[in-house]
């Protein structure tokens, strides 16, 4: 197994693993925020803002893997 093959196998798997983590995080966030919104609809705007920021943080982890993939993609020849 040479370098390019390892990279070509590893990059998609890495993105997939990162996406699993981000998905779990976003799922928990959404669950909590939706539950809180359902119980207390008058805090909805503040909750939405906090939720979107949290989504941004959770999603960023997959984006790091994605950016790494773009940086290393050229080395697969």
């Amino acid at each position: 197994m040479n370098f390019a093959a390892t990279l070509g196998l590893g990059l998609p798997i890495g993105i997939g693993l990162a996406a699993i983590g981000s998905g779990i995080g976003i799922g928990f966030l959404g669950q909590g925020a939706m539950g809180a919104m359902g119980r207390q609809p008058d805090v909805l705007p503040k909750l939405q803002v906090a939720m979107i920021i949290g989504f941004g943080f959770a999603e960023a982890l997959t984006i790091y893997a994605f950016v790494t993939m773009f940086f290393l993609q050229g080395k697969i020849q």
Binding site: I52, I53, F55, A60, I63, Y64, F70, G74
Partner: protein
């Protein structure tokens, strides 16, 4: 079908071009008829569906234009362009530096920064001429630390096509080498122009443009005011400027022939570094040097805090340094990922156009990718919002008397319940 095989098997280039042009025309007419019929059906019951129709038509028209631009620009070997690789470390350093200088001069409009502007411009110009004769395609494994886009296909824009038609023109070549600078300036001009046009004669009862601008600014003010409280009016101009700048740079990539400047790591890194420096400067000015060091040490107040000091200081410094990296990589990754998605679908559509399969394959392909363009618009707005909100959060962390401000805010909100 006969025409298609003729076009595919024809040996003469001129004949093939003629046939392809004819088929393109017929296919375009067919698509127009199909979609025109669909829209006529949708709007038949009432005229209430105008926003829906516009929302469907604009992405479809944009995609069709993008695909046509891809199909009619030069030969099939560069159907999907490689990003121009910026080899040479001087170019890689000079262009972000120039962008930082210019954006800093725009945002702060301070006298010393403005005096730096021509210097930075000439620096970027010389660097561009230094890398002017770099080969465009094929350099897929160039060191990807500058653009991030090297080695990845992207759509041709108007500057690429101009560069194809006038390969010897120095100005167009410079624009081609520094596409993202040109489009960043264009986005800034569009955003400033719309704002000026809408707010040049503000009235008590606002017109449509003034109403839209006021609504957006007031919404952002509400959102940021929840965090910053009484400090809002000091920092709001920076936040709203960054928000609208990033938003217009993101959204300009949807228009056919334009490119999102934020799909380049240089631009997002420059914006994130400006935010980072502004946040640190705010912290130094508000907390004072001692308070700033105290903040970096995690505000130790008891014995355990002072024992943990050698651990906490590096952790906090690393946390501060991670902020610009995370800001820039998040924006770049999202916008670039969306762009790549669109490139894949538009490339498939353009392949169908080139094979003269217009009426067969283009409408469903356009329909699928129009959904992704709506997703791209959503991502653009959300990412600009996240960039501005994270800048707000970082500023909020640097403000003194956090408990006090928090108490005030709760006190202010208490009567409304």
């Amino acid at each position: 079908m006969k025409l298609f095989t003729e076009a595919a098997l024809s040996k003469s280039a001129a004949e093939a071009t003629l046939l392809r042009a004819r088929l393109l025309l017929f296919g375009g007419v067919k698509v127009m008829v199909i979609y025109g019929g669909a829209f006529a059906l949708t709007r038949w019951p009432s005229l209430e569906l105008w926003p829906l129709i516009a929302g469907l038509t604009i992405p479809l028209a944009a995609l069709f234009l993008k695909a046509i631009m891809l199909a009619v620009s030069s030969g099939p070997e560069n159907l999907l362009r490689r990003a121009p690789s910026t080899a040479g470390s001087s170019g890689n350093l000079a262009k972000p530096a120039a962008f930082i200088f210019l954006a800093g001069a725009l945002l702060l409009s301070a006298a010393p920064a403005r005096s730096e502007e021509p210097h930075a411009l000439s620096h970027a110009d010389s660097a561009a001429t230094a890398v002017a004769h770099t080969a465009e395609g094929g350099a897929a494994h160039g060191e990807a630390h500058s653009g991030g886009g090297s080695g990845v296909a992207h759509l041709p824009n108007w500057i690429t096509i101009l560069n194809d038609f006038f390969p010897q023109n120095a100005v167009i070549h410079w624009m081609h080498e520094n596409e993202y600078l040109v489009f960043a300036w264009l986005a800034a001009v569009v955003f400033l122009g719309i704002t000026w046009f809408g707010m040049r004669k503000p009235t008590m009862v606002p017109g449509p443009i003034q109403n839209a601008i006021e609504w957006m600014v007031e919404s952002m003010e509400d959102v940021c005011g929840g965090m910053l409280g009484k400090h809002l009016h000091k920092y709001f101009p920076y936040i709203i400027a960054v928000f609208f700048y990033v938003l217009s740079m993101n959204l300009i990539g949807i228009i056919p022939g334009f490119k999102s400047s934020t799909s380049t790591l240089d631009v997002t890194l420059a914006l994130a570094l400006i935010t980072f420096l502004y946040v640190q400067f705010t912290g130094l000015r508000n907390l004072g040097p001692l308070g700033y060091i105290d903040h970096l040490a995690g505000s130790p107040r008891d014995v355990v805090g002072f024992i943990m000091l050698p651990v906490m200081i590096p952790v906090h410094i690393l946390g501060e340094l991670a902020k610009p990296v995370s800001l820039s990589c998040r924006l770049f990754g999202n916008i670039f990922g969306e762009d790549t998605l669109i490139v894949v679908f538009v490339g498939a559509t353009a392949l169908c156009l080139k094979a003269s399969l217009v009426a067969l394959a283009v409408p469903p392909m356009l329909g699928i990718s129009a959904l992704f363009m709506l997703l791209q618009a959503l991502t653009s707005i959300v990412q600009a919002l996240i960039f501005a909100l994270l800048a707000t959060v970082y500023l909020y962390m640097m403000l003194p008397h956090e408990e006090h401000a928090h108490g005030n805010e709760e006190h202010a909100h208490a009567p409304s319940h």
